[in-house]
Structure formats: C-alpha cells, structure tokens
Symmetry: D3
Subunit: 198 residues, 6 copies
C-alpha cells in the first residue's frame, strides 16, 4: 500500500509561466512513453514475476515513477497556472484549454488521451523485462527531445535532466532484473517447458 | 511523494483459483470505471483545485484508490495464478491468455485497453468534483454487478463489498468537497468571472 | 421516432469567416463533453430507466441536444465556409483540412475522433443520472472556455452563451430526475436488493 | 431541428428474452457499421454538400437512421430486460453486464466502444457520397450476418430484415445523389479546379 | 510473399527541408485514408474474395499501396531530415518531435495514431469492394487537399499528383472487380442465399 | 519497392476447419504484438537509422514480417473457410462474424482493432532498436501462448513454432544491429550531443 509523504517531495519552483512548454511536457505525463505508462506498466507486471527480487525492483521503480508523474504534473501546472487567455492562445494551447482549461490531463503532446495499448503485460518475465528496457530507452529519448525544445528555460531543463538521468538508472536495474530472471528460468527450465510439451 | 508500506496491505487470500471471475473483475483494474480511472482522475485534478482542503481530499482518495488498484490486481492474480490451460479455456479466458498470459493488464471486462477518454479533467473545480461524484456512483454500480456475478465465492464477495463500501464513503467526501468549493467560489465569484467579462 | 422540422431551427448567421474559432468549437460537436456525447448518452440511458418520468426527461433532453449538435455543426460550417487555403493555414487548420476539408467531423479540439469511452451507460439509474449531472457541468465548463477564446466575435459568443445556459437548465432537470428515481428506489428498495442477497 | 413523435414509432414486441442475441445485435447500435455510425456520418456530411437536393437526402436518411438506432436499442433492451443473472452468464454477457448492466451502450459485438474513426467526412461531395454507398453495403452485410445468427427468433429476424431492406433503399438513393452531384460538379468543374491550379 | 527490389523504387529527391509540409503529409502515411489503411485493407480482404481475378486485383493494388506507403514515408523523411530544432518549432512540429523526433510514425495530420477502425473487412465481397471504391475516393480527396496545402513546393506536388492519379486508376479497377464479382454472385445466387433461408 | 512472388510462399494446408483457434490466432495478425505491428514498426523506423547496415536489417525483417502477416492471415482463413453458422456459434465467434463474417480483420484476440499506439518510432536509433528487442520477445511469448492453446492441432502448431523460431532469430539480429549502432554513436558521440549542449 502507498502512503503519501509531503516531506519527500522533489522541490519544483518554475519562475516563469510558459504554456508553450507545458504543451509538450504533458507527453511525459500522459503520452505514449511518459511516467503514467511507466508506472502502470511496472506495477501491473509485478504480479507475474517469478521471484521476490524482480517483484521488488518493479515495485520500487513503479513507485518512483508515480513520484515522477507527480513531478511532471507539477511542472505542467506551474507552467500554466495564472496564464492569461492571450498567453494560452499565443502558445497554441487553445485546443487543450477548450477541453481541460489549465488542468493537468493525461494526454500526449499530440493531443491523444493516454491509452493502455502503449504498454504490455505479457505474463512472461523475459518479455516483460525486455519491454521495460525499451520503455526506459523511449522515456530517455523523449526527455532528450524535451530538453532540446525547452532549452531556454533553465529551471525546466534541470528537472528534465534529473528525470532523464533516472531513466538511465532504471534501465540498468531492469537489465539486472532480467539477468536474475534468466538465471532462475535456466535452473527451472521454466519458460521452455510450455514449448517442449508440444 | 508516495512510499510503499508492505505492512499496510489489506490481506487478500483467495482460496480457489477461478479464472472466470478474474475475467470480469479485471474491469475494476482497467475498465472504464475502475480503480485506475479513479486514482488517475483524482490525482490529476488535484493540481487545479482552488483550496487546500479539496486538494487534500483528492490526494487522499487518489492515494487510497491506488491501494485499491493493487487489491483488485491481487484478486485477479490469485484467481488465475497456477490455473492450467484447460481451466483458462473453460473460463473463456483464451483471448486474454493469448496476449497477457495470466498477467494483470489494465483492460475492461469487454477486452478494451484502458483509455484516458474515460476520465475528465476540466480545470474547473465544480465540473471536476461533479465528475467525481459520478465516478463514485459508477464504481459502486460496477462493484454491485460484480457481486452479483461472483456470488458463489465468499472470499471474493467480501473484498468486493469492502471496495464498494469505500466508493460510497468517497461519494460523501466529494460531496463535502464540492460544498466547500462552491462556498469559496461564491465568496470570490471566481468561476462566474470568466463569463461576466463577455 | 424523430421528425425534422426546418421551422424550428435556431437562427444562426455568423457574419465573418473565422476558421480559428471553428478549430476549437468543433469540440462541442465531437469532443469529450460535446453535444454528440450528451445526446447519445441520454438517448441510450433512456431504455434502462425505472419510470416514465425519467425516461421522458432523458428523451426530451437527448432530443434537444441533437438540435444543439446541429447548431454547433452550423457554427463550424459558417466559420469555415468559403475560407481560402491561406486563411485555413493561418488559422492552424491545415491538419484538419488535410483529412476533412472544411467538412464538419466529430472530433475534439485536440484532434481526437469522438469515442464512446467518454460516456457511460451503467444500467443503474442513480449512477446514470449522476453521470448526467457531471456531463452537464463539463459541457458548461467547455462553453465557458470557448466563450473566453471566442470573445472577439459577438455573434459566436451569443450562441455559445445560449448553449451554456441550456446546460445549466439540464443540470437542474437531471437533479429533479435523480430525486424522483431515488424516491422510487427507496419505496421499492430496488437497487439495494442485489446487494442484500450476498 | 428534430421533434420526437411517439406515434411514429415502429412497433417492436419481442416475446422472448434472449441476451445471447442482444450481445451481437448491439453492433448495429454502436458497432463500426451500425446505425449510430450511419446517422452521424450523414448528418455531419450534410453541411458540406453543394446542392439542396443532396443536403435533403442526407438529412432524410440521417434522420431515418436515428429512428433505426432507437429500434435497435429497443431490440437490445427487450432481449435483456428482466433477464436473470444466470441467463446473463449463460449467454456470455457477463463482461457487458459488469460495465453496463442491461443498459444499452454504443459498442460493437466485439466489445469496442464506438469510435468516430469508423466514419469519414471529407468535405468532398463525391468522396462523401461514395463513402455512404460503402456504408450502406456494410450495414446490409452486417444485418445479413445477424439474420444468420438470430435465425431461431422470428420476431427478431423480421425486424432485422426490415432494417436490412432499408439499407438497400438508402444505397439506391445515395447512388442518385452521387449522380446529381457529379452532374453539378461537371457543370461547374468544381472539384477539378483545386487540382488545375497546381 | 513479398521481396524488396531496390531498383524498382520511384525516385524521390526533395531539395528543400520543410517540416511544415511533413506535418500534414504524414496523414497519407498513417491517417484515416492513407496508404497504410489502403494497403492493409486490400491485403486483408483478399482472403475472402470468391474468385481468382478479384483476389489478384486486391493483391496487386495492396502491394502497390505498400510501395506508396514507402514513398510517402520517404517524402516525410526528406522534408524533416536535418531540420534544426528551431525549424521544427517554427513548423509547429514540436509535439510530434517530442514523441517521435524526426522519425516516421503512422499517425494522422491531427496527431491520432493509426487505428484499424478506419478500415472494414466484412467477409462480403460486394461490401468489401464498395468499401474500396470509397477508400480510393477518400484518398484522392486527401491528396487534393495536400496539393492545395503544398502548392509552393513543386517537387512535393509532383509526387502527390502522381499518387493521386494512381488512386483514380485503382478506383476504376475496383469498379471492374465489383462488376466481375456481382456477375459471379448472380450466377451462383451466392450472397442472397444466406437471406433466403430465413 | 516490393514485388509479390507466389513461388516463395510458405505452404500452409490446414486440414480441419476450427474457428475456435482462428479466434485467438487473429491476435498475431492484428493484435498488440502481432505481425502487422512488427512489420510496420520496422519499416517505419528504417527511415531514421544512422547507417546502411541497420537500415538493411530493418528492411529485411520488416519485409519478412509482411510475409508472416500473410501466413497468419492464411491460417485464420483456412481455419474458418467453409465453417457453418453453427460451428461459428459453438466456437464463440459470433461477435466477430457479426462484423467481419469469416474475413480476416486486423484485431486482437480480445476484439480490439489494431492501434498504432502499440508501436513506437522515436527517431532515436538506440530507443528504436531496444523497442524491437522487446517486440520480438513479446511476439515470442504470444506464439508460446498460442502453441499452448492450439496444442491439439498439429498442422497449426507446426506453423506457430516456425513463426516463433523466426522471432528468436530476429531478436538476435536486432541485438547485433543495436551493437553496431552503439559503436557508431560512440565514435560520433551522436546522441549524447543533444544533451551536452544544455
């Protein structure tokens, strides 16, 4: 079970309203490779893992991604909070404003609501962990594009770089989890069995 | 930020494997009115609330729904874990098994991956809180249908009744939050202003 | 059955072409909280209502929303009809024009085709009517955002204000329907029964 | 504008509850080629037609399809109304019941909520009317499959055959509309112009 | 089975980077009426055709559309390859760049990932071939809109006109296939049979 | 450009009609990890690869997956061709039959039309190739589930095992491509650059 601890929050203080940046950063909230996708993917895959270690890694990283989801939401909120309608319009945010005001809605930069079709839970530990390696690379790539596009706002870039760095760390940890699972499966000849009988 | 506390987990011990029940209960994991929808809806709406009290209620309930998401996932997992392929087939779970094995994937009972189009974040406190009143009623109704369908498994029904009861409590709390917000808006004439100027 | 009566049409005469406004107003045609969503939601829920009065209210409002769907479509059409390609481009309507020309297509301002996942029909009168209270609040909020964004075109704002006002009226009527249904259910102890037996 | 006339309703009186048939007939309510798709497609295309005659045909047929939508909804309702939970289960309707009870929800037989991606509005009269010829053929084919599957219930088959027959009539009328539009375009060299200038 | 022949490629050499055009042309890669939709529609329908001739036509045109898919992808690639971040921003391509860099992703101009709901396979030769007549008209209309919007780049327009012209040819061929199938069905009274028995 | 060579077809001769197996195998045609997803993913990513070798690998495997798409379609077709309506019903294929007859439509076993949200094209060679490693693992896992479920039909299992084996080979080749790309990027310090400048 999760408990919310206000004291553990990463401090986010964006000095300047900038809806134009919010418009693209929202993709790491509810886009195809964002933090919602990551968190839900890992927390869902947990149930099917064959050992405690991989379950724990998925639980840890899934929980951390929940915190990152909140960080990205806070970024989007601070970049739009108090913006005038004219600023919204100039930033090309009118379509978003029509349906969500300056709320934080889980959609991609391109405007598509988040869809669980973007994640996989295969009930196969090797496939699931390889999916996660890919997820981390895709999240890293997205943060790099965002860093390109937000280059003029140092406050924002610093947070994006922190979040990007965490994806690289997660990638390493999923690599270790995959090694552990493959060793375990090798001992038990677990996943090959379903094939052998045919 | 969230931290995961294993000691706070609601104890779930389903004695009998029953994939047929898992097939429908999955809807409260990733269906249109399930716990993922609830949790993400409330945690996303938080950012736009006009006062601390409503922010806190959304944060509390959103966090509790995360725990319920885990409970429903555990239910689905325990009802399918160790099921034979023949049991899967008899339960009509072959299509699900094809793409997800006995993993826990966020989809509706009808087989549609979860879609954020099922939730609203309007950046309007009155609209958002009324959305939540509806969400709680819809979740209640879904649990009642599930209680109908799972009637022969007492272990499962007990958990579903607990979860249903919590939705009723949340409905009350959102009603209070809505009252609070409406009073606040009345003082500030906040949401009418955008209209008045036109 | 419906019959179409040309004489009952609300007069819409927008003097100035303005594709930029069409781009966002389309959301009340085919966006998540638009008139299509409203109309189809109410007309679909009708079948499951427990009394004639609530059926009649849903039929009336659902039919009125069909008329509003036509009004919003007419708005979009008049705002784009005869626009030159250059005007289309300047208004940021090129993506829409690529796939729909200056036709009226049911999509959100953000570009997502309408999806029935945005509405609920639960076969539970209390849940369905609460869903409708939320729907009306969400539609009201959307019209308010549009009024903000269309502030410079008085013809358009007048129609949006009229449509907004109707949502407030519908909200009241759904509140009355909900009261009626709850009284009826209290007499019959109808919706609690399914729970009691478990 | 539409008005609802109760006296014009097609009489539907299905004698036997049969949720198994409801499960598939729902596709003509909210499936890819159902009555919602048809009605919304024609009523949306209306705005862009170049002459009064084709506008009128689209308005007429779109309005008739609204009536058919109601007929199909009534069919689904009568086939499920009063069904016991056991009947629901035996008919394979448990997933639908979980999320919609025995309400009428716009989805395909396969369980996918209706999506406007299934229809096209191109803002090009020739393309739109050819789209409609295809729509009528697809609706006819769907009714034929349903007639195959519902063969044992004469009440249901009679209505399906009536609805199928109407699609054939609509096909003819759209053929005439297309001829009329092509003649008009030939006079004005209308749709070729946009190409000529390049 | 397909083999790839590099020598058969249509030469595409776009001289000027222009991400603004890429943003809309992508719709013929992965939009509702684009080349992916066409190719997959025809290659999927093949299996159910009643004679060799119609199977061959579907296979030929489906294969040609695969080549056109590649041409459109090449267009998008050449129009964005080497573009600076500033050019991306000025072209309004930031949202796309966030999630896809300057890669070629199957989505509509409006930003929606391609969805098979945009195509039909009815297992009914007459319905399927009429669907294809509509598909070709819709593709033609889309190319005409793109020709309008890309009018200042002669290299691009030339390719779009070639691709448009092919859709007109395909339309003719599907018309012939439909005639052939209808004759065959008339002899065998094939599709009416399923109705007759009821 | 592709050419179709009938002589290169893998021979598929399924002796027994079995719609029940078709119902699940369709997922490798149009499900989240099926051959359409694979083929389109690789052929789309091609454009953005930094060297000829990785472009060629993507082109080769993407083309081979097109052939596999055809094989899976043929499997589905042979398993349903000539089935009676009663067989369709007993196999639980009535919903599919309603909308697609016994045609081959790109959907998952669970009934969801294929959606490009299931694939990623990031315009980042490392992310794209890691995505492909995951895609191959997910396809392998799906074939293994299908082999479990189709265990009683030797003809079908033999083809599924062949297709599964090819995914393992592709996984190896994408591993090599990733190594090649990483070496190339290390020389050029290519993908780190975008970060360094910030």
């Amino acid at each position: 079970m999760w408990t919310y601890n206000r004291n553990l929050q990463y401090p986010i203080n964006i000095k300047n309203t900038n809806p134009k940046l919010a418009k693209i950063i929202i993709s790491q909230y509810g886009g195809p490779d964002g933090e919602l996708a990551a968190s839900l993917r890992y927390l869902s895959q947990r149930f099917g893992m064959p050992d405690k270690k991989s379950k724990a890694i998925l639980n840890d990283i899934g929980t951390e991604e929940l915190a990152h989801l909140e960080m990205v939401g806070t970024l989007v909120h601070q970049l739009t909070d108090g913006a005038s309608v004219e600023e919204i319009e100039r930033a090309g945010l009118s379509p978003y404003y029509t349906d969500h005001g300056v709320g934080v809605y889980p959609q991609s930069a391109g405007g598509t609501p988040w869809n669980a079709a973007t994640i996989a839970v295969k009930g196969d530990p090797v496939a699931d962990l390889t999916e996660n390696l890919a997820a981390e690379q895709k999240a890293r790539a997205t943060y790099e594009k965002l860093i390109d596009l937000c280059r003029d706002d140092r406050d924002v870039v610093d947070i994006l770089k922190y979040l990007r760095q965490r994806e690289v760390v997660h990638f390493q940890r999923f690599g270790e989890a995959l090694n552990g699972v493959q060793e375990k499966l090798a001992q038990k000849k677990w996943y090959m069995d379903s094939i052998k009988n045919n």
